[in-house]
Structure formats: C-alpha cells, structure tokens
C-alpha cells in the first residue's frame, strides 16, 4: 500500500498546476444564457488544446500525451481543483474519441479525432429515446440501408449539447427480427443536414443542456458505421464504460470544494457546531469517494479490470452531492433558494445526478447482479 504519487506523477501534476496558474480560465459570462456559456467553454477548450492539455489521456499519435491512468486521474483532479469550466466537447473527449480509438477505422480516426480535440466539432450522445432509457437496448430509431447510405427515422431524447453539435453518436435498430441487443448499429451522424430537428428541453434549473432530437429520413453514409453493422450494442457499451470513468475524479474534487465552501459558510454564520454532524458525515463520505475512485483506478492498472468501485463511486457521489446541496440550504437559509446563486443552482442540478449516466436503481442492480451474484428478477415479457 502506498497512497502517494511517484516522482513522475508529481512532476506531471506540478507542470499542469503551473500551467493552470499561468492560464486562468476567464470568468463565466454574466449574460447571454446557455449559448454564451457554451461559447465560454469552447474558448476554454481551445486554450487547453493549444497547450496540449485537452486530452492528455489520449495516445500521442492522436494529439494526447499518452498519459497513464493515474496521470489522467491527476489531470481531472487538477482541473476540478482549479475550478475551471468543463471543456465544451466533453462528450467527444471522454466518450466519442475513446470509442473511435477502440472501434473506428483508420480513416475514421484520422478524420474525426483532431477536431474533437480542438473543440471545432462538438459531439453529442444519441442513445436514450422516449421509450428506451434504462432499457436502452429496446430503442426503436430505425436505420434502413439504401445503396451506400442508410436512411434513419426516429426520436432521441435527453440529448445533451445536441444544439451545438456537429456529430451525434447514434445508436439505431437495423434489424428488427433478431433479439433486441443484436439488431443495433452505431453511427456517426452529421447533425447539420435536413431531417435533423433539435428542440431544447428546459430543465428544472431553467437552463437547457439537453434536447429532443427528431430524425426524419436522415441520410448517413455507410462509411460512418462504427464497429460494424449489428454490433451497435458492444460499441455503445464502450461509450458507456468511458462515461463512468475519468470524469468521476473531477466531480469528486468539486464536491470537496463545495463542502469546504459550505464549512466556511457555516463558520461565518456561527452554525458550525449545529451542523457539525452532517458536515463531518459528508466530509467523510467525500473522502471515501476519493479513495474508492483511486482504488478502482489502481485495480485497473494492476489487474487490467475494474472492480465494483465504478458503480459504487457514481452511486455514492450522486447521493452525497444531493445531500450536500440540501445541507447548504439549511446552513445558508432561504437565500440559498433564490435564483441566481450557486447554492440554488446546485440544489436543482444535483437532482439529475442520480438519473444521468445510469440511474441509481440501475447501478444497484449492477452491484447486486454482477458483484454479489444475486439472481435477477425476471422482467415481464
């Protein structure tokens, strides 16, 4: 057991820390709404990529630094620590790129990876549908072959960043006659074409991160199939696995900062003792999230496969984050419940944490079935 970083890792961290100190992100735009916010994050990504810091976890041949798993965790921790915005193309950097590196052809990698890195082309994830959320494999969006193209019709929903995206990771049904997991195909769909309609959905925070996505006879060239026709489920799983890694380290550091801010707020108001129990509990939970995240990562480095920690970390983090934002309302008082401050924003945004990227109930199913080996309840046919 050794809970310290090696000299190389410390050097990596210090280089990044130094760079972040010299290149602070500009402040969040006060006006202009979601579009201005997105433009701010896009500019920030450009700054990162110009300095070679957009995706250190990518191999050097694709513009990354070939960072080890530990280094990339350090990277996300440091970004969280510096309180910089999430890069605009987070879905391309964390999900799309890594999926292409596993399943893409050489042509696809050459064509798509560079603009992901610079943020020139934004990516979104078109998986969920009105009738297929937790049961993703039940999705109905249809793709039919027509010459060397596919014609796609259907509807996606909750598609984050679709309104700014050039490319969509789209999972469709290409064969309705085989079991549901087998008839799926994964495409890269150009969002800028007739037949693609994006309608922003207003969230409980008042902003619109996610959208409805209507597809009517959209055409996708055969060259944009990723991982082969009928292999969409496996490719989608690669995307989903990446969703649950990486980002966790940044979120965990943000939670720590949030709790530190909350402790300062309680101290300032003279109510630290009154809330010491819950503050101590959340601080302890946050520390265990950090440790479990690191343990999961070092297990992958050592044994080549993740332990149960991935699901545990996401479950524990989302739960703890929600509790922290509720405690903030107690400590700060009704002021925390007015619009236009971080407390109220976080309180509302946190509700999505136990839904996005797999609901807590689904994570519990995964832990019960795959980690503990409990039998699965037979679903009604």
């Amino acid at each position: 057991m050794d809970l310290t970083f090696s000299d190389t890792e410390l050097a990596f961290r210090d280089e990044l820390r130094g760079w972040l100190a010299d290149n602070p992100a500009p402040p969040r735009p006060a006006e202009g709404g979601d579009d201005a916010d997105f433009a701010w994050r896009r500019d920030w990504q450009r700054t990162l990529s110009d300095a070679g810091w957009a995706a250190p976890h990518w191999p050097a041949e694709f513009g990354g630094r070939g960072a080890t798993l530990t280094q990339s965790a350090i990277y996300f921790e440091e970004l969280g620590r510096a309180r910089v915005p999430l890069p605009a193309n987070v879905l391309g950097l964390l999900l799309g790129g890594p999926t292409l590196m596993v399943w893409g052809t050489d042509e696809q990698k050459d064509r798509y990876l560079p603009p992901i890195l610079t943020g020139e082309e934004i990516w979104c994830q078109g998986f969920s549908e009105p009738g297929a959320g937790s049961d993703l494999a039940a999705l109905q969006t249809k793709a039919v072959k027509d010459g060397d193209e596919w014609v796609v019709s259907g509807q996606k929903v909750w598609t984050s960043a679709a309104q700014w995206s050039k490319w969509c990771m789209l999972v469709t049904r290409t064969d309705g006659d085989v079991p549901k997991h087998k008839g799926l195909t994964y495409f890269l769909m150009d969002m800028e074409q007739p037949g693609v309609t994006v309608r922003p959905l207003k969230q409980i925070t008042g902003e619109a991160e996610f959208n409805e996505l209507f597809l009517e006879d959209v055409r996708i060239p055969d060259a944009n199939v990723v991982g082969g026709v009928g292999n969409g489920w496996k490719v989608a799983l690669t995307t989903l696995m990446n969703e649950r890694a990486g980002l966790g380290f940044a979120l965990q550091v943000r939670l720590r900062q949030y709790l530190d801010d909350l402790i300062a707020a309680a101290d300032e108001r003279g109510v630290l003792d009154a809330y010491a129990g819950e503050l101590g509990e959340l601080h302890t939970r946050c520390e265990s999230i950090r440790l479990l995240a690191w343990k999961g990562l070092t297990d992958v480095e050592k044994y080549g496969q993740p332990g149960p920690e991935g699901s545990l970390v996401k479950w524990l983090w989302s739960d703890t984050n929600q509790r922290a934002t509720q405690l903030a309302a107690d400590i700060v008082g009704p002021d925390a419940l007015t619009y236009g401050n971080d407390w109220s924003y976080e309180l509302l945004r946190a509700r999505g944490n136990t839904i996005e990227g797999g609901t807590t109930e689904i994570l519990k199913n995964i832990v019960a079935e795959r980690v503990l080996g409990l039998p699965r309840l037979k679903a009604a046919a």
């Binding site: 057991m1 101290d267 149960p308 039998p375």
Partner: protein, 339 residues
Amino acid sequence: MDFGLNDDQRDIQGTARALVGERASAERVREHAEAGTTDTGLWKELGEIGWPGIAVAEEHGGQGLGMVELAILCEELGRAIAPVPFLPTVAAAAIIEHGGSDEQRARWLPDLAAGRAIGAVASADSADLVVGGAEADVVVLVDRSGASGAVVAAADATVEPVDAIDPTRPAARVSGGSPELLSGDVAAGVDRALVAIAAELVGVCEGSVEMTVAYVKERKQFGTPVGAFQAVSHKCAQMLLDTERARALVSQAAWCADAAPERLHEAAAMAKAAASDAGREVTSSAIQAHGGIGFTWEADVHWRYKRAQMDAVLLGGAGAHRARVAQLAAANVRSAVTA
C-alpha cells in the same frame, strides 16, 4: 498510488484467513458465545505466533510491523467474530506504547505482545464499564478528548463481571486500583486503537455480507429466491457499499499510521465514524434479510449485530468522531483562507 497489499502482507492475510477459518468456525464461535467464554486455546496459539504483538516495536517484544498488518488481523478475526480478546489487547498495547513511560512500556508490552497478558480499553466516560474487562490483566482508561489516559492493573482493582450483549468479550465493572497517568502521546495511541476497532468492524461487515448474500440466494418465496426482489438485492448492494466505504477509510488510516502520521488523527476519526455506522447498518440489514430466522438465537447473525454494537460505541460513537472530523476540516478551511 497503490491500494493493494504487498507480498508479505498478502501472506499474512492468507495465513490469517486460513487459520481463523479453521479455528473459529461458526460452531466454535457459537459454543463460546453460549458459554460466555474466551477460546483460550486459540488465544494461546495466537500469542505463540506473535499476533498480538504484530505492531508492537521489537524492543518491546513485538514483531515491529505496522498498523496495516495489524488491521489485516483485526479484520480477519472480526470476519469470524472470533471469541478471543485480540482487539482489546492490541488497543491497550497501542495506547501504552505511545502514551506510556519507559517503565509502563517495560511492565506491560512484552506480556501483551506475547498474549501472556490481556488488555482492555475504555472511555473514562463510560463510567467504569470495560468491554473485555472481565478477563483483562491491564485496563487503559481514556478521557473523552482522547488526549490523556491512565493505566490500571486489574490485580489491584475491583473487577465485577457484568453480562453484556456480546458474550465473546466478557465485560466487567473495574473500579479502584491505582490508575497511573500516561504521560506520553496518548492521542497517537488512541488513534491507532480506533483504526484497529474500525478494522474489526469492517471484518464483521464483510462476513455479514457474505452470509446474507448466501442466504438470500437460497431462500425462496413466491417461487423465486428472495435475493431477486430488489427490496432485498438493493439492501445487499447497500451493505456492500457501506462495507467498501468503511474499508477504504480504514486502509487509508492504517497507512497513515505507518507512513503519514501527521494525517492520522483525521483519518482515524473518519474511519471510526464510517465503520461504526457501517457495522450497525450492515448487521441490521443482515438480520432483516434473514426474516424470522434472523431474529432467533439459533441463527448466528445476531452475534455479528452484537459485536458491531459493542465496537461502535468503543472509544466514542460515530457522532463524536463525525463532529471531530467537521472541526478538523473547519480548521483546515480556516488556515487555507489565512494562508
């Protein structure tokens, strides 16, 4: 970063698991629990192979290994609820080693390290009730702050056995005698004792998860194993999460004791808070998931619940440690502001 055990530690764990599995089977534990006795044969054996002294310095008759190794043993013994006074003895030894004078160390450590003497620890605020006090040769009393304490030889004191809910740790009221003040770094010893208790709790939890998962896979109602019902399977998942959360904090605290002692105080408080809660929650869920059987004296699940309750209150409950964590975190936040 490496959360894994090294080869030597892995060996210790493997040996411990095999030995405890063989000598402290559920049947043996039940026999001793029913009789309210310690397994003196097993205790003698553990003393001979030096377990109680694993973390005691060599100059005091121990093996001079660290808290990580000690935590491994506590966890394995906790997993089986082994009826031996291991935890009280190593907790007392840790406090005497760090908090005692040369004379006090010389008097107690060699015997404690070899298992020739049995130790016990108690908070001075638990009045005079001492868990494991009925068989202890030496009792360490710690005040509420955990920063000062005293040591009492049982031979000089009045010891009245009391029936406590965990008969595998025979309790007693210890009064009188001539408590000698500990003048060294008592807090450093107490923090190590807290880690040992937390490690035992993790073991208790781990064993409870295993036994519950096995039961709910077998037990059928409505034509299906009850473990297929999400009300049950999600409870089991929660048990695992609570256990793993506590385990991660215990690993960190044990490592801090050996390699980063300046961080031990906070790490030990976090570990004890999380492990105390986990112990109670996990063993409660274990009873619930067993249904009526879980409420019977015959089913072994209640021994786990009882051990968890005793450990949870030993040297301060979760609430006290959580409050300390908040105060330490607040101090850090304040010093970051002024820095």
